[in-house]
């Protein structure tokens, strides 16, 4: 029954695309984020939904969609160069079989991120993309939020819609992606035209944000908690009533702490005690190993190069209850430990050139969003304009991701690359509609001031 319902939904998505080919782009975003083929049990698992929607999105744009207004931006070029470089390192990878397995999904994520902005020619398309991204991720988040509220959480035990712990269904990745999406959901609630702002929209978004904040609790993901705190600080920067906002936030936190599960509080307490925590200790060890590895392999070791790491270290272990505690040191050996950081993931797999490209791509996005904010703050609408709001939301989302990425290996996460695609689309849209056109319509009479001329 669930299979049929999901199949019918995907079929509806594809059918509506016949009238509006852009909907196929949204269909790919939906399939990539929710992975309905993994939720179902029978027929839907046999269909290559990702491939079907991928071909439909590209084919629809090439053969059926208008191209007027489509621009290829510098950041899309950077994604293209990164894609080619990843292809090169895959051919020289330390672990060719594993590298090919990762390349199989990475190239699609990068290619789609490069392609997506070409289709985002109108404000409504930017909004529709943001909406489908939020609702697609919301499918997982609402599910996890309700289960956490009902007491089904725990580190690595929160059962989401699928029986695998990968991609957006992995706890730390989901926490980071979900918290990063909060600003986008709030922007939709303020500026949406598909669902116009009213009490129903705000109620749903409030529930979604609450469910998002429950995910780090349900997954006991420390990264999610750090990201949530960081996002709250970022939002203070753009809030009109900062003191009221900060006060309400502190009050909500103080009220929430007594209701948090003890296991969650205990795990969060290890954030500042990394030397006693195996998970955190091995991260630091892997990062040191990656720095050494990059000295010998400055151009990277290809995907999954971490598999060659192995290290032994002594970890302090505290036993007993205060004041009668004793510290013993245990020797721990770890092999093939994952990077647990996107920065070191890029360094180990793509070397210094790959890390440089990736950082350039990310930081350029932060800068471009700041440019849009700066530009629209000075307009008549000011901070009430949808462009300022979207640029702010996308900047907050990216900065939150960049913090979470320090502790999770999500350098190529498709959902995050879609956020980058959305940024490229907004940047291209703003340059086309708010910069070039007015400039072309001004002329300067001899010795006089610039005057607008009728278009």
């Amino acid at each position: 029954m669930l299979d049929l319902a999901l199949l019918a939904f995907v079929a509806m998505f594809l059918a509506l695309g016949i009238k509006r080919p852009f909907i196929w782009v949204l269909a790919y975003i939906y399939v990539d984020a929710v992975a309905p083929q993994k939720i179902g049990w029978s027929l839907i698992q046999l269909l290559p939904l990702s491939l079907i929607t991928f071909i439909a999105a590209f084919g629809g744009w090439i053969f059926l969609d208008r191209k007027q207004g489509s621009r290829f931006t510098l950041r899309q070029g950077l994604i293209g160069v990164l894609l080619l470089y990843c292809a090169y390192t895959t051919t020289i990878a330390d672990f060719p079989v594993e590298a090919l397995a990762k390349w199989d999904w990475v190239w699609k994520a990068l290619l789609f991120a490069m392609f997506m902005p070409l289709t985002l020619r109108t404000k409504l398309r930017l909004e529709a993309t943001a909406l489908i991204m939020v609702l697609a991720l919301g499918t997982i988040v609402i599910n996890g939020g309700i289960k956490t509220a009902l007491g089904g959480g725990g580190y690595g035990t929160l059962a989401l819609l699928v029986r695998e712990n990968a991609g957006l269904y992995e706890g730390s990745i989901l926490s980071t992606a979900a918290v990063s999406t909060i600003p986008l959901a709030l922007w939709l609630a303020r500026h949406g035209t598909i669902f116009k702002p009213d009490w129903r929209v705000w109620t749903f978004v409030a529930g979604l944000v609450f469910a998002t904040l429950l995910i780090p609790i349900g997954e006991a993901a420390r990264t999610g908690l750090v990201c949530a705190g960081f996002l709250a600080l970022l939002m203070l920067r753009s809030a009109k009533r900062r003191f009221l906002y900060a006060g309400l936030g502190a009050l909500a936190l103080a009220l929430a702490v007594p209701f948090l599960p003890q296991s969650f509080l205990a795990r969060m307490g290890t954030i500042t005690e990394h030397s006693e925590d195996e998970s955190a200790s091995t991260r630091v060890a892997v990062w040191m190993w990656t720095l050494d590895y990059a000295k010998d392999h400055p151009f990277g070791g290809g995907f999954d190069a971490y598999r060659s790491n192995s290290f032994t270290y002594r970890m302090p272990k505290v036993t007993g209850t205060p004041p009668n505690t004793s510290v013993t040191y245990e020797t721990v050996t770890d092999k093939a430990r994952a990077y647990h950081s996107s920065y070191f993931e890029m360094l180990g797999e793509q070397g210094w050139p790959g890390l440089f490209l990736w950082l350039w791509l990310q930081l350029l996005g932060v800068w471009q969003m700041e440019r849009i904010r700066w530009r629209f703050r000075r307009t008549e609408e000011g901070t009430a304009s949808w462009q300022w709001g979207l640029a702010t939301a996308l900047q907050q989302a990216q900065l939150t991701y960049l913090l979470g990425a320090a502790f999770v290996g999500i350098a190529y996460q498709p959902y995050i690359f879609m956020l980058i695609g959305l940024q490229c689309g907004l940047w291209s849209y703003v340059r086309r509609t708010a910069h070039e056109a007015p400039k072309a319509r001004f002329r300067r009479p001899d010795g006089g001031e610039a005057v607008p001329t009728p278009g």
Binding site: F9, Q68, T122, R125, I132, N143, K147, A440
Partner: protein, 53 residues
């Protein structure tokens, strides 16, 4: 049950959103876009001040 509920809520909203997109003219072009010249890189002819007077 929770799975069905979360799927129903978000997929229902996505279906409504897609349905509304079908009838939106501004999905293909922005409202002001039609007024732009077909070749925006060419300046529109400018009337001289004397002509306007």
């Amino acid at each position: 049950m929770v799975d069905i509920l979360s799927l129903a809520v978000t997929h229902g909203l996505m279906a409504i959103a897609l349905w509304r997109l079908l009838s939106r003219d501004d999905l293909g072009r922005d409202p002001g876009e039609a007024a732009l010249p077909a070749r925006p890189w060419l300046r529109a002819p400018v009337a001289e001040p004397d002509d306007e007077a």
